[in-house]
């Protein structure tokens, strides 16, 4: 009997949401699919015509597209290990008993970077990493790095993006892992600590199994977020200099809105969507088996 209700009731409760999401979430995607099969340039709207999979073949053979994709995963490959390492360290410190007040304060300050408007992070980057009056170069000047051109040099600009990505999302990783650490039953952890003094033995054999769900969540969500990354990079470097920080979402935006080629950009977007759906499938398989 439990949970059995009439179809009308189900529709009454769920219908509005499903219809709303279909109209704003699915209809535009179908339109993007249609656009991707056409020659569709914003400056030549009279010449819109069906071209079949031409846009897709040009995307799949386009070096620039794959470079942007590679760059996106390279960013993930550099910043995710940093976030995991630092995040795990922070989580382990916060998990230790004692210094309760200080740790509560630290936990609260960890919340701040995560919530910061991404565009503001980019603007802060412009100010703090400025070559002439930036505070970062001031900090570095005693070590002989007082005149680094962060924004105008390809490698440095990339490093700067990594810095802000790590600044903003290490707290997220730390709090996820801390949540994992608190799920280790107290008696098991204590028993393990009586057995060995080495913290990494405890981490490897006792705590790690409890951290696994959090680690997988971090892995998948950070991948999705890196594919989404736009606001912070757009305000900080606009993808430059050259294309050294042009990640996949920025590239699609450039093709569609600064190059006006909506057909090609839509094809790129659809390919990105397919990658995302695969990721989401994995996420749901791992976490919501019971639903």
């Amino acid at each position: 009997m439990r949970g059995k209700v009439s179809r009308k009731t189900i529709f009454g409760f769920l219908g509005p949401s499903v219809i709303a999401l279909a109209l704003i979430g699915i209809a535009p995607l179908l339109y993007a699919l249609w656009t991707s099969l056409h020659f569709f340039n914003l400056t030549k709207l009279k010449k819109v015509k069906f071209v079949g999979f031409e846009n897709y073949t040009s995307v799949l053979t386009d070096e620039v597209f794959w470079q942007a994709m590679g760059r996106t995963f390279f960013l993930l490959g550099v910043s995710l290990p940093l976030q995991l390492g630092l995040g795990l360290g922070i989580a382990l410190i916060l998990h230790k008993p004692g210094l309760t007040l200080l740790k509560t304060l630290a936990r609260l300050s960890l919340v701040l970077p995560m919530a910061t408007t991404y565009a503001v992070v980019g603007l802060l980057g412009q100010v703090m990493f400025n070559q002439k009056f930036g505070v970062i170069n001031q900090f570095l000047s005693p070590f002989g790095g007082g005149n680094i051109n962060w924004i105008g040099d390809s490698t440095n600009a990339f490093a700067m993006i990594v810095f802000w990505d790590v600044w903003q999302w290490t707290p997220f990783v730390a709090l996820v892992l801390l949540a994992g650490l608190t799920t280790v039953p107290g008696e098991i952890e204590e028993a393990a600590r009586l057995e060995t003094k080495r913290w990494w033995t405890v981490l490897r054999y006792v705590q790690l199994p409890f951290l696994m769900p959090g680690l997988v969540a971090v892995l998948i969500l950070r991948t999705a977020d890196t594919l989404k990354l736009f606001d912070m990079v757009f305000t900080l470097t606009r993808g430059g200099p050259g294309s050294s920080t042009e990640f996949i979402s920025l590239m699609i935006q450039r093709v569609g809105f600064r190059g006006f080629d909506q057909g090609l950009a839509s094809a790129q977007a659809i390919i990105l969507l397919i990658i995302t759906i695969i990721l989401a499938q994995i996420y749901i398989r791992v976490f919501y088996r019971e639903v």
């Binding site: 949401s17 979430g25 002439k132």
Partner: protein, 276 residues
């Protein structure tokens, strides 16, 4: 004695590291606020100065002469409307997902999670063309609607989770007395689910308030959002850094307050409940 000394040393290390963590998290905000209080001449000094005579001029100019106030109001209207709409649509849907059994429930879940992960640029392309064809560019309602694509799933997720934690016996008792599902939701479950509803409202507000890309692509002047405004200062030479930081401060303060209020649920919400 040795163990005691080791414990003290570990304590000192912990304090140092914790202080460092807090410093790194908070310092950019300190720099943002102090830069916002500098005149343009002071802001451009090299190397930067730490002590100076603060002025509120940047705030006055940004808010009243450049129209940042207007864009903050726009952002506020849009964030409140989209949050209200997401709650009206999402709360009943969450109740249904928590309480009713039906086919296709799993697919619905999958769809909601996917919505959370899709890059906004994928939707921005078609949405721009549709809004242009319908004459809906630069209107508040357009952003209110498009923000629903990520707010509605998050409201539904958090509220479903909350409704599940309410004992089923309460509904059962009410149903035996002949109450409809709508009455059960409104009179029994919703009051108990208020904490979850509040958290989902905070999330929805933060996500809408922080959003830049759609604001940039879909608005020009009338519905321009505050982040889009802050970015529009970044054009030309001799950028007004003090004013940019003043605008940034005004944008960031409300989200930081909200995030601290919801700090306990932040991780759970961001991972869509995969991490308790």
């Amino acid at each position: 004695m040795a163990a005691n000394a080791a414990a003290r040393r570990s304590m000192v290390w912990q304090i140092v590291l914790l202080a460092l963590i807090m410093l790194v998290c908070v310092f950019p905000f300190y720099w943002m606020v102090t830069t916002s209080l500098k005149t343009q001449i002071v802001a451009l000094e090299s190397p930067p100065v730490w002590l100076f005579e603060p002025t509120l001029n940047n705030y006055r100019e940004a808010l009243f002469e450049d129209g940042v106030l207007r864009t903050l109001i726009n952002s506020l209207i849009i964030a409140i409307c989209t949050t209200a709409l997401a709650l009206c649509l999402g709360v009943p849907a969450a109740f249904a997902l928590a309480r009713f059994e039906f086919r296709g429930k799993k697919d619905l879940w999958f769809w909601f999670i996917t919505n959370r992960m899709v890059s906004p640029i994928v939707l921005a392309l078609p949405f721009f063309l549709i809004a242009r064809n319908l004459g809906m560019l630069d209107m508040h309602i357009t952003l209110v609607l498009i923000y629903l694509t990520f707010n509605l799933p998050i409201v539904i997720w958090i509220c479903t989770d909350q409704f599940r934690s309410i004992p089923y016996d309460l509904d059962e008792a009410a149903r035996l007395e002949g109450a409809s599902q709508l009455t059960i939701l409104a009179k029994i479950c919703l009051p108990l689910a208020m904490p979850g509803v509040a958290v989902s409202a905070i999330f929805s507000f933060i996500f809408s308030w922080n959003e830049l890309m759609f604001g940039l692509i879909l608005t020009r002047t009338a519905a321009k959002t505050a982040p889009a405004m802050a970015v529009s200062f970044m054009e030309g030479y001799n950028l007004p850094y003090g004013k940019i930081m003043a605008t940034s401060t005004l944008i960031v303060i409300p989200v930081l307050i909200f995030a601290l209020l919801a700090s306990k649920q932040l991780v759970r919400g961001l991972t869509m409940g995969a991490v308790k």
